[in-house]
Amino acid sequence: MSAEPVASTQSHLRQRQMDLVKKWAGHIPAYLILGLWSLFTLFAILWVMLSSLKTTRELFADVWALPGKLHFENYVKALFAADLELYFLNSLAVVLTSVVVILILAAPAAYILSRKKFKGSNLVTLLFIAGIGIPLPLLFIPLFQIMTGLKINNTLFGLGVLFVALSLPFTVYMLTSFFGSLPVELEEAAIIDGASDFQVFFRVMLPLGLPGLITAAIFNFIGLWNEYQLALVFLNNPKQSTLSLGLYSLSNGMEYTGDWTGLLAGVVIVMVPTIILYVILSERMISGITMGAVKS
């Protein structure tokens, strides 16, 4: 009599344990595959960081070994001897300015396209979005001609103009769908209160749309910070290089200079700002990809 409930509790317990084990066992392939994938990426980045602190001789003696002593002078050399400090500041200036101008241009346009339908507004939206599908290499030669004509070729200013123009399709698309997803009630209330269209935009739409604007800003910042193809085509002036282009030239010169750990230090310098942004804001960035592509 008294043994029975104990036995049943025990078998019940065992059953639960079995279920738990089964559940865990079922998850092993998932942890294994995702774990290996993540480990590879993590390892690759840590390897670059650690190797950038070795001497080139140490690096080639054994690529897998840890640095014996931390050679921070690689960074000093990369920054000052290879001019990366100048390129870093160039990139920061041109990318930040471009991002601000992109938002100043794209946000009002996206507001009109999402909220103030007019005759032909769908066509205008379509024209903007079409830019996403136009391959940039197609524009290299005509743009080179335009830039030379305007005498802004080989300047950071000219590069900034291109950054702005070529980022518009994606940004307008992203913000149009973001503004479109916002509730209209607040705008209507503001209009009833007698606010003008301009006031509605500045006092209601911009504050409400702030998360979308920030996401668009981060996206553009990372994309422009990382890009080197426009810089490669439109900057041919060692003083006006961007960081990505400077690194490209540095890596192209490796067969002559052989300063591989200096190059790795440069790689760390270009990676760190975007990785920091990503660590802080990864959720927001990830939501940005789906803005527009996945309807809510």
């Binding site: 998850h27 392939p29 998932a30 995702l34 994938w37 993540s38 590879f40 990426t41 993590l42 690759a44 670059v48 690529v63 897998w64 241009l105 794209a106 009002p108 346009a109 009109i112 103030k116 007019f118 024209l127 599908g133 136009i134 391959p135 940039l136 290499p137 197609l138 524009l139 290299f140 030669i141 005509p142 080179f144 001609q145 335009i146 030379t148 123009a165 518009l168 307008v172 990372i222 990382n226 890009e227 080197y228 193809q229 085509v233 990505s244 690194l247 490209y248 890596s251 067969e255 790795l264 790689v267 990676m271 975007t274 990503y278 990864s282 990809i289 789906t290 592509a293 996945v294 309807k295």
Partner: protein
């Protein structure tokens, strides 16, 4: 009504003008340039009719770069989507650390192309690379002697690295779509005795169709214009086996180390690229059109 018009004009015009001047007008010009023989900025252009296009389709290097680009599109695309789907299902299988794994797989997408190509140069380098030395340590001789960066292998080596980057982007896209599918659907299917594969083909794919079709278009555009990653991949002058259409355009127009400056010809390459985008995207939209399932 008048203020409304003023609002529309003043809000839309600045963006519209910049976009027109530096994007749409150059696109239109590209078509015009592609009919000329033009050997340098500032030099005279000579009308060639369709000559550039006819030459293109007899140019073995162009055909090779086109083949490579289509390979990235089709084989690369299928691999990227298969892996992204697999990882999405795994991340969503109820494990812990869902956000961590998603963030890790996406990570390469926020790193500068040039940083990634340098990293892969160290992975693949035949004399001091991580892979070859790893194979040496584990005693796999054939692997240790394999040259990933040789003339014949470098394209595939590059594609593997490119896939590693792109999977993260499409994982994020698919996950966001999947998060919108109500969990009850899967529970109901489980009660009915459906297995994982049946749930995947019966629930996940049809309900994600919209996302899949947008993703396919995005990948197509990306694959056709890809330039930065393969161009920097070889570190020195890229071998022709690595050429994509975008790379060949740049090399014909602006030269590598010895400038070529065939501007009309290079622009014709760009026009072919644009036509590929238009045709393939329209075709995909037609093929993938289905009734949207509301849920």
């Amino acid at each position: 009504m008048k203020t409304r018009k003023r609002l529309i004009v003043s809000f839309l015009l600045p963006a519209g003008l910049v976009y027109l001047a530096f994007f749409l007008v150059p696109t239109a010009w590209a078509f015009y340039y592609s009919f000329f023989d033009w050997s340098g900025f500032g030099l005279n252009m000579q009308y060639r009719g369709l000559g550039n296009y006819i030459e293109l389709f007899r140019d073995p290097i162009f055909l090779l770069s086109l083949k490579n680009t289509l390979f990235i599109l089709v084989v690369g695309g299928i691999t990227v989507f298969a892996l992204a789907f697999l990882l999405t299902v795994l991340v969503n299988s109820g494990i812990k650390g869902k956000k961590f794994f998603r963030a890790m797989v996406f990570l390469p997408n926020v790193i500068a192309t040039i940083a990634l190509t340098t990293l892969w140069a160290f992975i693949y380098n035949p004399s001091f690379g991580l892979l070859n030395s790893f194979f040496r340590v584990i005693g796999w001789d054939a692997g240790a002697k394999f040259t990933f960066t040789s003339y014949d292998h470098i394209f595939y080596a590059m594609l593997v690295a490119l896939i590693w980057i792109e999977v993260g982007f499409f994982l994020v896209l698919l996950m966001a779509g999947m998060d919108k599918i109500p969990a009850e659907y899967y529970e109901a299917a489980k009660i009915e005795g459906a297995n994982q594969w049946q749930m995947f083909t019966g629930i996940t794919v049809p309900l994600l169709w919209d996302v899949i079709s947008v993703g396919t278009v995005l990948y197509t555009i990306f694959a056709l214009k890809v330039f930065e990653f393969p161009y920097a991949f070889s570190q020195i002058t890229p071998p022709t086996t690595l050429y994509t259409v975008g790379m060949y355009l740049y090399i014909e127009g602006f030269g590598k180390r010895d400038p070529i400056y065939r501007l009309g010809y290079a622009t014709a390459i760009g026009v072919v690229l644009l036509l590929c985008v238009v045709v393939i995207v329209l075709l995909l939209r037609r093929l993938m059109r289905r009734e949207v399932i509301q849920y």
